[in-house]
């Protein structure tokens, strides 16, 4: 029997020539079926497809199930798993030290909306270039199922406890305070989440994505408003989100008036095909109103709520040199002897 030589097809690579394996992380220790694992997968896809250099990514987190997840994607990236609710300050410091990093913060609803609400609020005000993802399941997993501050009014715990306090809408807060790319997605909505993550990578400023990520162990039952079923049943997408990276020359036809085309910082295009006629994601007031209405109507509104590609980032406000402060040479950071002499003369 004649054999024809076969060549194994070259593995698929991205624009850097890296395979998706280069973006993988350690084996997850979260529960099987946890929404967080799906989000990790989408992060891997987005980073791979966007061709982000892994060594440039700083994975940041606080404490909780969500905050463990940076160990489960992108092992070739640097990572700082810090303290509960304080990831924003650690990330801010890291970006001050090295503005060429791409900061990706992973937080949870407890880590953000309860213990970390103070730092969250001030982070949003600064428009620090970073991607802030809340893996939002409305419940504390590691401590076995207590409510967090994003749990909806009337949501019921497995134990029968009913949440009688209103939730904090992290998206509405972020928009009001100054974040420049704000949206909500669902760990089970692969397409939308991937498109939003890619747009997040392309954005220069604070990206705040609240991703509903059901907790299969403590909050996926009847009566929970953050279960897979409830989310699927109540998800109300604001737009069809798609994304064309700057390095792909694809022209997509769209009908004027039906799609909003947002040109991102790096030249990529975020396309928001309108599902609601008059929604304008560059209008802050409309965004906040729409979110309030969603609460009123019991919808889980998803999509890109607000985007502003013009606002100055914290880095720009600080007017720092272009190169990382971290590695400036002594000749730059220690003024010459004459300066000290001048200072001394002024004090004599």
């Amino acid at each position: 029997m004649a054999t024809t030589p076969t060549s194994t097809p070259a593995p698929k690579t991205n624009r850097l020539g890296l395979t998706v394996i280069e973006y993988k992380g350690g084996k997850t220790t979260l529960c099987a079926g946890c929404g967080h694992n799906a989000i990790s997968e989408r992060i891997i896809d987005a980073m791979y497809e966007m061709g982000v250099e892994p060594h440039r990514v700083a994975k940041m987190s606080g404490i909780g199930c969500s905050s463990k997840s940076p160990a489960y994607f992108m092992s070739k990236s640097h990572s700082f798993n810090s303290v509960h609710g304080r990831m924003p300050s650690v990330t801010t410091g890291a970006m001050l030290a090295n503005r060429t990093l791409m900061a990706l913060g992973i937080s949870g609803d407890g880590d953000t909306a309860s213990i970390g609400i103070g730092q969250f609020i001030h982070l949003m005000r600064r428009n620090l270039p970073m991607i802030y993802i809340i893996e939002d399941n409305g419940v504390y997993g590691l401590t076995k199922g207590q409510f967090s501050a994003t749990a909806d009014l009337g949501s019921v715990l497995k134990t029968g406890v009913i949440n009688d306090l209103p939730p904090i809408d992290t998206c509405a807060l972020a928009i009001q305070l100054g974040a420049t790319f704000v949206g909500r997605s669902f760990s089970g909505d692969k397409k939308q989440l991937l498109a939003m993550l890619k747009a997040a990578i392309a954005h220069n400023g604070t990206v705040m994505l609240d991703v509903i990520s059901p907790c299969v162990t403590f909050n996926d039952h009847e009566g929970s408003t953050k279960s897979y079923k409830f989310t699927k049943d109540h998800e109300e997408p604001l737009q069809d989100v798609s994304f064309v990276p700057f390095f792909e020359d694809i022209s997509v036809d769209y009908e004027a008036g039906e799609t909003i085309n947002v040109k991102m910082h790096d030249g990529s295009k975020l396309r928001l095909h309108k599902l609601e006629e008059d929604y304008n994601p560059t209008d802050k007031l409309q965004a906040i109103n729409r979110l309030a209405k969603a609460h009123q109507d019991g919808e889980i509104l998803t999509g890109v709520f607000y985007v502003n590609t013009k606002a100055p980032t914290f880095m720009e406000l600080l007017n720092m040199v272009d190169e990382p402060l971290a590695t400036l040479p002594q000749s730059t950071v220690r003024p010459p002897k004459e300066v000290l002499e001048k200072c001394m003369a002024a004090l004599r």
Partner: protein
């Protein structure tokens, strides 16, 4: 408001018929916010310019305006610049405290007062000088709105006559004070002159206190410890500063902002630094650690309440092994305490700040020169040992003006510690973050962004092994904790050594640190002069304690530890570090009333404990 805590005054050192030259202290009592700070600085500088050693201490309330405030100026030919307990000369401008201020003086002291206060009636054993300030100010300041501020520049002029200040030097000091504000300078010079002229024609000197020119201040500067620290940080190459305002540390960062804006802007007009006012101390230290992890020389400055808030992050810095420089300008605690008064009350707390087994390097500056030099040492130690380093200054040092020698330009290159570059990684192929390769307990780190596939490591505050992987294994945990301890032991040989001020002359020793040094120096002279008692003296400069500290204690029968706190915190730290046979040698001298420590208090306490 009770004033006795501030105006604790013993016997004035004046004696009839005898001139007391360059050895007195002056206390100015005013109302907070009345502009007396300028006048007091002018007096301080006039004395300084006349070559006489001088110190000024502001005893102020936690208030913007309205509460009583005192400023003490001490001129001393021997160079004693600690606070002097006894007040020789009072300028009484505050009706609220005047009677109390005068009552608490020793016989023979002098009082210059605002005429309407009529203090002469209070006592008959003091030298009184009555001055109609309102009348004088009206004659030199036509603008009634400005009179309140200008009024306070009259007493320096009156004092110039009474104490013998050179009016030309005073005018120089005033013009310096007001800088380019020519009109304000003229107005104030005229006010001082009017005070002087009034005194010449209306007052008759009948106290013994005089100033005479010396030449002790050549080349010296006047600076507060916080500004000195700021300069030190700038020359240490700090790049990221994150802070939250708190008395008495705010002026450190504010001075730093001024200096950095002047001297750390690149040719393209861009900053070679970032200074961020955070939302609280939690965020301030979080930013410091994030920046240091990413490779910046980063720092914050705070005081006790801020230190409390920084506890959790400090533990993270210790365990993840991230450098940080934290200035603790200590004030009186616990809780809010006395925010504008001085103490050394954070020693024990900072030494082991955070939960779990933690220990931190601490440096103790005693003077502006050390605020400057220890800034550089703190950054080098933090990066060398990859750990938070605390510099424990205090309100007295940080916020008061001190005479100092000109600072020396750092000669040692900046030490960034064990950081692996891309080239190192190419050569090594990889690394294990917490492996003790060199046997000193210090691992090698990489910085985020290093362009190498093996460059990343996972920084985590949870249990980890040598490769910084998550681990709950008992052996990993123990190995890691033991290595951290080894690292701390290594630090003993690298932290600033103590100053052996006097050794080998006595079987009795004393250990002091920080600002207690000045009172201690004077106290040793008092002990010698008044009791013929020699006492050896070691000035501690760092924790962990170096071998010189152990040797000093071992070679003495008794060792007094001077602390500006209630519990003898440094003594307690020493106890933990000493061989049990040495512990009983320690005795404690404590001072904790919110005022800077004075020599007399130390002398009296040592004499009492010695049973002399």
């Amino acid at each position: 408001m009770a004033t006795t805590d501030i105006a604790v005054q013993n016997i004035g050192s004046g004696k009839e018929g005898q001139r007391v030259i360059n050895d007195w202290s002056l206390q100015v009592a005013t109302v907070n916010g009345s502009g007396s700070q300028s006048a007091n600085t002018v007096i301080l500088r006039t004395i300084f310019q006349m070559g006489v050693p001088v110190s000024g201490k502001n005893l102020f309330p936690s208030n913007i305006a309205g509460l009583p405030t005192w400023y003490t100026i001490r001129a001393n030919k021997n160079g004693y610049i600690a606070r002097k307990k006894e007040i020789d000369f009072v300028v009484a401008m505050n009706p609220e405290t005047a009677v109390e201020d005068v009552k608490s003086l020793g016989a023979g002291a002098a009082v210059l007062y605002d005429e309407p206060l009529n203090l002469r009636a209070v006592r008959n054993d003091l030298a009184f000088y009555s001055v109609p300030f309102d009348k004088i100010v009206a004659s030199v300041c036509p603008d009634a709105k400005l009179r309140k501020l200008v009024k306070n520049m009259i007493y320096p002029g009156v004092l110039a006559f009474l104490l013998g200040f050179d009016m030309a030097e005073m005018e120089k000091a005033i013009r310096r004070q007001f800088g380019k504000k020519q009109k304000a300078a003229d107005l104030n010079v005229n006010a001082a002159k009017a005070g002087y002229d009034f005194a010449v024609s209306h007052l008759e000197k009948h106290d013994p206190f005089w100033i005479e020119r010396m030449d002790e201040n050549r080349g010296k500067i006047i600076i507060d410890g916080n500004a000195a620290a700021a300069l030190g940080c700038m020359f240490a190459g700090v790049t990221v500063v994150t802070w939250y305002p708190i008395t008495p540390s705010s002026s450190l960062v504010e001075s730093l902002i001024d200096y950095m804006k002047k001297y750390r802007i690149g040719p393209d007009g861009k900053s070679t630094f970032a200074i961020v006012q955070a939302e609280d101390e939690l965020a301030a230290i979080g930013m410091v650690l994030g920046a240091a992890w990413a490779g910046a020389r980063s720092m914050t400055a705070t005081a006790g309440p801020g230190i409390s808030l920084m506890a959790e992050f400090t533990g993270l810095g210790y365990y993840v092994e991230v450098p940080a420089v934290i200035w603790d300008i200590q004030r009186v605690g616990p809780s809010t305490g006395l925010p504008t008064r001085t103490a050394q009350g954070d020693i024990s707390f900072v030494a082991g700040l955070s939960h779990g087994d933690t220990k931190h390097i601490m440096l103790f500056p005693s003077r502006p020169e050390e605020c400057f030099s220890m800034a550089g040492e703190a950054f080098d130690l933090a990066e060398q040992f990859q750990t938070p380093v605390f510099v424990l200054s205090d309100l007295d040092l940080g916020m008061n003006n001190w005479m100092a020698d000109s600072f020396e330009y750092p000669t040692k290159p900046i030490n960034r510690g064990k950081v692996l570059s891309k080239e190192d990684l190419d050569r090594l192929g990889g690394f294990a973050r917490y492996k003790d390769v060199d046997g000193d307990g210090i691992g090698y780190r990489t910085l985020p962004g290093v362009d190498h596939p093996a460059g990343a490591w996972f920084a985590r505050g949870s249990g980890h092994n040598e490769k910084s992987q998550y681990s709950e294994r008992p052996d990993d945990y123990v190995n890691n904790l033991d290595r951290l301890n080894r690292k701390f032991q290594t630090a003993r040989s690298f932290v600033p050594k103590p100053e052996l001020v006097a050794n080998g002359t006595s079987k009795i020793g004393v250990i002091a640190y920080g600002t207690s040094h000045w009172a201690m120096t004077e106290s040793r002279d008092q002990l010698k002069k008044e009791y013929d008692f020699d006492i050896d003296y070691l000035r501690l400069r760092a924790f962990p304690f170096t071998k010189e500290v152990h040797e000093f204690i071992a070679s003495h029968d008794r060792v007094y530890i001077v602390d500006q706190n209630r519990d003898g915190q440094m003594r307690d730290l020493l106890k933990l570090d000493l061989d049990p046979s040495q512990v009983t040698k320690l005795r404690s001298v404590r001072h904790y009333n919110g005022l800077p420590i004075d020599a007399r208090s130390i002398t009296d306490e040592i004499i009492s404990q010695e049973g002399r």
